[in-house]
Symmetry: C2
Subunit: 404 residues, 2 copies
DNA sequence: CCTACTATATTCACAGATCGAACTAACCGG
DNA sequence: CCGGTTAGTTCGATCTGTGAATATAGTAGG
């Protein structure tokens, strides 16, 4: 294989498929099912090449033919559809937050085989313990699913940023201080004996929406809300990561000069004004009854959202205030990234998304730049698992040497 | 040549070198002078390949050997340096603004052969007339420089966004209303009989800093201030353009809820608060003497900056107020793009840059994200020509078929 | 049922890029 | 002058992809 462009892996991106083999697998995966003719169009390769590559993929058991094509018969040979053989390989995606630890087992076709949510390690977690736990639980997950461990390609691990890619978490959220400088990726690899990949939650979530949305949206972003607020940019199926893996930190742009102090040291950060923690604090101050959700930011936030949805006007006002600030963040994303599509995702949007969506849509549409080009804003129904799923998909994509 | 990755040109980017030939030319150009060994490292190709490609480049007269390498002798054959033969090809870059029309003639090595600034077409300019004028003046520029017109590869044209790439200006600044929907690119091509390329000023300026800064800064952004405010993101020498060519519109992010109305329809836009027009308006309101600069935004702005630099405290306060807002924009760029380097460029920074620089630096450094990863902020001394230069360089890069 | 017709997929011979290994070239220091 | 060291080239092999022609599998019509 020739490597025309990236010998030194191009910084700023997750690996774009470089071999035709990987490219074809990638395209079939995101389309679900595809004929050879369509592949010629999508890849730019000629029919003979497609034939050759696909044959080897079939021989290797990675791809299978899946019946005849449907399309309206115009009087020719119908296309034979190709699909990824899901059972050929597997990857695991893990999303760590203070609240929860989410696992997904994803097959080679990108389908979710198993998902599993456990309580998070909580405040002040010891990274070494968490690594051990993740290794154990990953093993359990694989075993329970009855998947051959030899077929598991690797693990994608995702946590709140900021981080230094491929090295370790650098400056984690307030309650994860012990993670500063910890080399998660290599520790996980050692424990698991598997390739591992480290990504920040928002960026991974952007990758996670990949199979959700149609593939012809080539420039899109995810606005991610969990304990913190972040965003990710996806281009042609590749995720933009920035120089240090911290691109898309909308949570810490300043939206109010002289605004409240944020844990990051700044003032007037979007996260400090509109993040779940801020919403929960305001709700507490307003004396709202949050039930048993004392500690957990996202769970308490969800409780407030449920109150708002059930007609509590104080809860609604608080959430809508947050949404107004978030709308600024969304507008900033639209202006800076110039995307065709913005997806709201992450655990915090799982319940509250329907309140935020129209407010964000309205703001995006009311700016000239949004209006003239028609940026679409949608809600991801898989907000809870988006980050873990994205971690898994990134791992899938990073598997270049699809050796038999 | 195989096209592994981009058959359908990948949206969101200017063409990354796909052929080894283009890649090698590109690398030599940005390094100035390079040996074959260094090329093997930079491109990932093997020595034999480099030898072969370089031989053809030399045969075609595009590259020449340039003496022996300098490096401390460790007892081996010294490297033979390669450089681009500047005289092999040329490109023209044009930057249109209301105030001024800037031309640069750039040789194949990326060196500026001639630069030329004329008065801009002014308010309410007729695009058809401007195209005609640009075609004429481009011809004049080439003729005066004594360059063989047959060696001119094309013209890069740059104007304030927003625009629809490769089609026409869409929603130009207030005084360019007649440009809405005008197909500049194709009209220029027709008039000139040369390939043309359309880009927005800030994005081009990001490309224009390419030879200015060292090449190992692979993720950088430009904050561009002319009549408006914009920014551009550069990755590995490629410029990010967004889905519609309007990425980096920092000028129209909202930095003050309920702030002043902007021509774009929004409120509290950075440009409305801190742009040259706003600064000029404030200075007028304060009764500052702007000399003869009545109409021209950037020229009047420069006059205010000069007052500030010469100790006028009112002027200084006004500029520093603008700088405080701009710092928010800079911080947003740093957070969203996660760059290693931020360059301040554009005509408006040509005089005022030294006032803005420390204020922006301070804000970037005071945010954790900036501090922990060390985003550098510098001033481009070629602010005036950056956009035109960038236009030319983008055109140079887009020349793929380096046919003899 | 047989024959056009159409679109899909494959075969085969060939072009081109790149690679690995071995080799030549240039310079140093003793 | 001779080994040591690094730079660059030659050569045959490999691998990827191409173009032209061919085989395959359906529909539509007589």
């Amino acid at each position: 294989m020739q490597q025309v462009s990236d010998s030194s892996p191009s910084p700023g991106y997750d690996p774009a498929p470089t071999s035709s083999r990987a490219l074809i697998v990638d395209r079939i995966r995101s389309a679900g099912t595809l004929s050879r003719v369509e592949l010629t169009q999508l890849t730019g390769l000629t029919a003979p090449s497609i034939t050759a590559v696909v044959r080897r993929l079939i021989d290797d058991g990675l791809v299978a033919e899946a019946g005849r094509g449907t399309s309206a018969s115009t009087g020719g040979k119908p296309r034979t559809l190709l699909q990824i053989r899901g059972a050929a390989r597997y990857v695991v995606g893990v999303h760590l937050s203070v609240d929860s630890l989410t696992y997904v087992l994803v097959d080679y076709a990108g389908g979710v085989v198993a998902r599993w949510r456990r309580d998070g390690p909580g405040d002040e977690s010891d990274p070494e313990e968490v690594v051990q736990r993740v290794a154990l639980e990953t093993g359990e997950l694989i075993e329970r699913s009855g998947v051959d461990p030899a077929l598991v390609l690797g693990l994608g691990f995702v946590c709140p940023g900021p981080l230094i890619r491929n090295r370790g978490v650098t400056s984690a959220p307030p309650s994860m201080t012990r993670w500063v400088g910890f080399p998660v990726r290599s520790r996980l690899q050692e424990r698991l004996g598997l390739p591992a990949l480290l990504e920040n939650d928002a960026t991974a979530a952007a990758a996670g929406t990949r199979l959700t949305t149609s593939h012809d949206v080539s420039v899109m972003a995810a606005l991610f809300m969990s304990e913190g607020i972040g965003s990710g940019l996806r281009l042609n199926g590749n995720v933009y990561q920035g120089a240090h893996g911290n691109a898309g930190e909308v949570g810490h742009i300043c939206v109010q000069i002289g605004g409240p102090r944020c844990w990051c040291g700044g003032t007037g950060c979007l996260e400090a004004l509109a993040g779940p923690a801020a919403v929960v604090a305001k709700a507490r101050a307003a004396g709202l009854d949050l039930g048993s959700h004392r500690h957990s930011g996202v769970a308490a936030f969800a409780a407030i959202a449920r109150l708002a949805l059930s007609g509590d006007s104080r809860a609604e006002a608080i959430i809508k205030d947050s949404a107004a600030w978030m709308a600024l963040g969304a507008q900033t994303i639209a202006n800076m990234y110039d995307v065709q599509l913005l997806v709201l995702t992450g655990p915090a949007f799982a319940v509250a998304g329907t309140i935020y969506l129209p407010i964000l849509q309205e703001r995006i549409l009311s700016s000239v730049f949004g209006r003239s080009v028609g940026t679409e804003v949608v809600l991801d129904e898989r907000g809870h698992d988006a980050a873990a799923l994205g971690a898994a998909l990134l791992m899938l994509k990073s598997e270049h040497a699809v050796s038999a």
